[in-house]
């Protein structure tokens, strides 16, 4: 989709290490605000992880006192410019707008260009430390947390987002020969220069404040709460009851029932368990 194209391009420019997780649809683009809680169930495979799911809770909903969260810090404003020329080739350029250094739209000979302003909002590490000291888990535990605990799902909190600062109209065009492009406002008329080609356009409006991508940290709960700013696959959000190996890789625990069943079906794998 046009939205996904925009997200992909923005992430490519701003996050070469792949730490930001792209929002997959415009419909979900407001669900991943800073402090939002997400769940992720254990995967039944060793080769992929399940997707993060929004649980429609913020961290303030599970902590006492139930106070508003501190505002996240804006730690970078960027202008992402899209330039398309008459040969139907697209590229994305990036300009930092920090400290008043505002870069203009990229000029490409024989074409028009336009841009989209985005910012990175981040919850500072010191904010987490203060929250962790001053606020405690609500008692009794929030019902949704109880459900996630019983399912053995992990819980994550959004710590950083890439957000649009103003409404943006995006057009995605395809010509008959299959060359595709997406374009921010101002470049649509280029299709007139591509003679002899049939074009199809899709337009989408991305509202201001939409989240394009996010970053998470895992919550640890029991008996107090904490967050893991650096991922650790072996940690689980909820302690496992009646287990002497409480901190063992949760994926193995979940895989147990699946693999036990598979064991009976697939002798060549010779799956063994020590449970």
């Amino acid at each position: 989709s046009a939205f996904e194209e925009v997200v992909k391009s923005a992430i490519k420019e701003l996050d070469c290490r792949g730490e930001l997780i792209p929002v997959d649809s415009l419909r979900n683009s407001t669900s991943f605000r800073p402090y939002s809680l997400l769940s992720r169930k254990l995967s039944s495979s060793w080769f992929w992880k399940s997707r993060y799911k929004c649980v429609n809770l913020s961290i303030k909903d599970i902590l006492d006192p139930n106070a508003p969260e501190p505002e996240p810090e804006c730690c970078g404003r960027f202008q992402i410019s899209d330039a398309v020329d008459g040969n139907v080739q697209g590229r994305v350029a990036l300009a930092s707008m920090d400290q008043g250094k505002m870069a203009g739209a990229v000029a490409v000979s024989g074409s028009r260009s336009a841009s989209m302003n985005v910012c990175i909002l981040r919850v500072a590490q010191s904010t987490w430390e203060v929250m962790q000291q001053e606020r405690h888990l609500q008692q009794p535990e929030h019902k949704i947390l109880q459900q996630l605990r019983s399912r053995g799902d992990d819980v994550f909190v959004v710590t950083e987002v890439l957000q649009t600062q103003e409404e943006v109209q995006v057009t995605r065009t395809h010509d008959r020969e299959g060359s595709g492009q997406f374009a921010l406002p101002g470049v649509i008329c280029l299709q007139g220069e591509s003679e002899g080609r049939l074009s199809r356009k899709k337009m989408v409006t991305i509202p201001a404040g939409s989240i394009l991508a996010f970053r998470v940290a895992q919550l640890l709960i029991d008996p107090t709460w904490d967050i893991l700013l650096f991922p650790d696959d072996k940690k689980r959000t909820f302690e496992l009851p009646s287990s002497s190996h409480r901190r063992e890789d949760g994926q193995k625990r979940h895989a147990f029932s699946l693999l036990t069943a598979l064991q009976s079906m697939c002798a060549p794998l010779k799956l063994l368990t020590d449970a």
Partner: protein, 208 residues
């Protein structure tokens, strides 16, 4: 679980896991496989039903095999997987649960494309192409470029091609002029899930 005996994090390991997950599906009666395929096709257009079925199977598998009935395509699939007593048939429930887990990793666009592919003969071709990419991009932890043999590409290898979109949505960068895929380590999860989805759906659609 003895990890080294379960799997290795490469294509051989994935293939072993998928083979284990799909073994029983190949032995199902044709009629049952066709029924499952039809319902899975409907399910791929119905995200909430897919989630409900996955949750129900998970509960059933983890808690003694008893499941509650569901509506719609999810209910129809569930009926194929339970005994009259309401107890899950593990040999069928596990592969379907595994398939749902793989499908859930894919984007909605990919799910819809797979639903369309079920009605064509594209599945096997797509499976072979994804298999080629996963084999040739080893080690998965490093970026690499993989050439795509023309024999595995459709007539129209471009951005509109369903196979192109399936791969692109995994985070792979594709080239038209010299058919090629640029592999990034972050593509591993979605590409492996796509492979597993195609493999299991292909098992169900085998005519023999």
């Amino acid at each position: 679980v003895h990890e080294e005996q379960v799997t290795t994090e490469d294509f051989q390991g994935l293939r072993a896991e998928v083979k284990a997950g799909s073994a029983e599906l190949r032995h199902l009666e044709m009629e049952l496989r066709e029924q499952l395929l039809r319902d899975i096709g409907r399910l791929l257009h119905d995200q909430p039903s897919m989630e409900a079925l996955e949750a129900s199977l998970e509960q059933g598998l983890c808690r003694g095999g008893q499941v509650e009935p569901l509506d719609g395509p999810a209910g129809s699939i569930l009926e194929c997987l339970v005994l009259p007593s309401g107890e899950l048939v593990l040999e069928l429930a596990v592969p379907v649960f595994y398939l749902l887990g793989a499908l859930a990793v894919l984007s909605e666009t990919q799910q819809k494309l797979l639903a369309e592919a079920l009605e064509t003969t594209m599945l096997l071709k797509q499976l072979e192409l994804v298999e080629h990419i996963l084999e040739q991009s080893t080690p998965w932890q490093e970026p690499s470029s993989v050439s795509l043999p023309l024999s595995l590409l459709g007539n129209s290898w471009d951005e509109e091609d369903p196979t192109w979109v399936l791969l692109e949505e995994c985070g792979l960068t594709l080239r038209v002029d010299t058919p090629q895929v640029h592999w990034e380590p972050k593509s591993q999860g979605p590409t492996c899930a796509l492979y597993a989805s195609l493999a299991l759906l292909s098992s169900l659609s085998q005519k023999s």
